[in-house]
């Protein structure tokens, strides 16, 4: 299949648990994810559902408890540290908080240059030129290169963070809520910048967010996460138009609509996210799902695929 060859990153049966005293926190439970070249995969879910943990697993900041990750056909999870160091420059990250993601003691030029010096890319002169080029790409005046992060606004800092992520010409960029700490007006600028960069450089994004409007705008495909599992995934339009999993349905209906004519009665989910220390048996959403029946409480729903639209539910909508 055409898509098979286009796969950039593939993860199967990923599990990540963290010790919490005598118990375990099940942050990620049996997640499969595929990211194709040149696409933007949106990863959506409420706080604490494990989307950032999944991002950190892919970045190699965490090791999965179980499961395998392949990047361009090479198995990352089987690599030694030395081998992994060579591959990891192809997977970079844009962080959520632009106030915390830049070292306050390094000038922005030195922050952007750091990936180049660490990986011994080019001579000192070439590195300087690369930094200048990157600053131009993200729209920061080159004269500001010796300024420090605290002299910039949040949006400008995020641009610096983007420049740093681009320094090594990565193939995949994990965007961990890159705009959620920014003002709405700045969000649009940064999103446009990300979209432009994708067109120019052929980048692939894993776009983690809890903001459905942002995800709808930027993603080609979307994965919806609930309590450490992916409950639904598929093409963005398809998911937003015809959600099959009840959770997705409720998530979408909670999005504020600006046009009063189109406003409908909101159907809100009741209850809190269950504790990931003791996730509910069966379908994880059954404690909050109005359609739940006995089978949902006892057996884990298997994944159903319809035209690239995957969902795991006993009673799809």
């Amino acid at each position: 299949m055409e898509r098979e060859q286009n796969v950039l990153l593939r993860a199967e049966h990923l599990v990540k648990t963290f010790p919490a005293g005598r118990n375990k926190v099940h942050a990620i439970s049996d997640v499969d994810i595929t990211i194709c070249r040149g696409e933007t995969l949106g990863l959506v879910g409420e706080s604490g559902c494990g989307k950032s943990t999944l991002g950190r697993l892919i970045l190699g900041l965490l090791r999965p408890t179980e499961g395998k990750i392949w990047f361009e056909g090479q198995e990352l999870t089987a690599m030694s540290k030395g081998e992994f160091r060579k591959v990891r420059r192809d997977i970079q990250c844009i962080f959520q908080d632009p106030y915390a993601s830049l070292d306050p003691r390094l000038s922005i030029a030195n922050s952007i240059m750091e990936p180049l010096t660490i990986n011994h890319v080019g001579t000192r002169q070439e590195q300087q030129e690369k930094v200048e080029a990157l600053l131009k790409i993200v729209g920061i005046p080159v004269e500001y290169r010796n300024r420090f992060p605290h002299q910039f606004s949040g949006g400008q800092r995020q641009r610096v963070g983007i420049a740093r992520a681009l320094a090594l010409n990565p193939k995949l960029i994990v965007c961990d809520e890159p705009v959620s700490a920014l003002d709405v007006s700045i969000q649009a600028q940064v999103l446009n910048l990300l979209a432009d960069l994708q067109n120019q450089m052929g980048l692939t994004y894993l776009f983690i967010s809890h903001d459905l409007n942002v995800v709808q705008r930027i993603s080609n495909r979307v994965c919806i996460m609930y309590l450490g599992q992916i409950c639904e995934s598929g093409p963005t339009e398809e998911i937003f138009a015809h959600p099959r999993h009840p959770y997705t349905h409720f998530l979408l209906s909670a999005v504020p609509v600006t046009d009063p004519e189109q406003r409908q009665e909101k159907e809100l989910i009741s209850g809190e996210l269950p504790s990931p220390i003791a996730p509910p048996p069966g379908c994880r959403f059954h404690t909050r799902c109005p359609y739940a029946t006995e089978v949902c409480r006892t057996s884990v729903p298997s994944k159903t695929e319809e035209n690239g639209h995957l969902f795991a539910c006993h009673h799809p909508l």
Binding site: L59, G60, L61, R85, R88, R89, I91, Q92, C93, F95, Q96, D97, A100, S101, L102, D103, P104, R105, L106, S107, A109, N110, S111, M113, E114, P115, I118, N119, Q128, V131, P141, V142, E143, R145, N146, F148, H150, G161, R164, A167, L168
Partner: protein, 286 residues
């Protein structure tokens, strides 16, 4: 645009910032002057610092003896000048030993955590539990009497302070996103500790280091007094202080001048330390 704008190296930018701070530059000048005095004491001192002239004993400051004479008729001014050699060396080296070893241990303990952290911190608890004078004495007697072993002993007994300060700061900083960012680009643990963690934890360490030079000089004087440090006739500020205490009521100048010398040294280091701390922190730059 302006193609000549180059990246300033980190240390050049720190130095440029440091130069703008007048108090810090003054501190550095004083320290430099003290070092010059220590080096050229042979030429600057008007008298032999260990020659005893009993006829001149316990004279107050005069034109012949600027700082007066002690109970053996030795010229205090000359002794203070010569004393700079040993005292400065002892103060700075012992603090440097404590600071470097303590910071590295604390930084690695905080960064790696787990069993390594527990082992390091329990060792520090052991060091803290032993009274420092006893610890110093046992280290010097185990390694043998010498000025270097004395500095080592005073240094070792001060390691836990730096270790604990450093570990506490590292625990705050190691989870910062910029540390993750460095790791994602392939930085080794060592590079992350040296380039990101230690610079961001430096402020309290610098303050602690510059303040404790004075107490290190005094601690060495205590050891010298007990006969395990600098042998008796060698001029040394701390020893001069403790000798002078018997004459404090009528001949206070015996203690005042070496005391002033210690104070001046600590003051200069402190001003320099404050300047360094500010220069290292871009947020405090003007």
């Amino acid at each position: 645009m302006n193609r000549t704008v180059k990246n300033e190296s980190y240390f050049m930018s720190v130095w440029n910032e440091f130069r703008k701070n007048r108090a810090a530059v003054m501190g550095m000048s004083i320290l430099f002057a003290i070092i010059v005095v220590a080096i050229f004491a042979d030429f600057l001192a008007p008298y032999d610092p260990i020659e005893q002239v009993y006829a001149d004993a316990l004279q107050g400051p005069s034109t012949a003896h600027w700082f007066g004479t002690d109970e053996f008729g030795r010229d205090i001014f000359s002794r203070v000048l010569y004393g700079a050699r040993v005292s400065l060396l002892v103060g700075v080296v012992s603090v440097a030993i404590a600071c470097v070893i303590g910071s590295l241990l604390g930084a690695s303990a905080g960064y790696f955590g787990g069993g390594y952290d527990a082992v390091v911190m329990r060792c520090m608890d052991v060091l803290l539990a032993i009274p420092s004078l006893l610890l110093n004495l046992s280290i010097v007697s185990a390694l043998g009497k010498s000025v270097f072993n004395m500095m080592l002993a005073v240094g070792v007994s001060n390691i836990p302070r730096y270790c604990r300060i450093m570990r506490a700061s590292v625990l705050q900083i190691k989870n910062a996103e910029y540390v993750d960012a460095a790791r994602i680009t392939g930085a080794s643990h060592m590079l992350i500790i040296i380039r990101h963690i230690i610079p961001n934890c430096l402020a309290p360490i610098i303050v602690q280091a510059t303040l404790s030079v004075g107490s290190a000089i005094i601690a060495c004087a205590g050891l010298s007094f007990l006969g395990v440090g600098v042998p008796a006739p060698t001029p040394e500020w701390g020893a001069m202080l403790s000798n002078g205490k018997d004459f404090l009521r009528h001949n206070a100048y015996i203690t005042i001048f070496p005391g002033l010398a210690i104070m001046l040294t600590v003051l200069s280091l402190n001003l320099m330390g404050d300047g360094l701390r500010d220069a290292f922190d871009p947020k405090l730059r003007r």
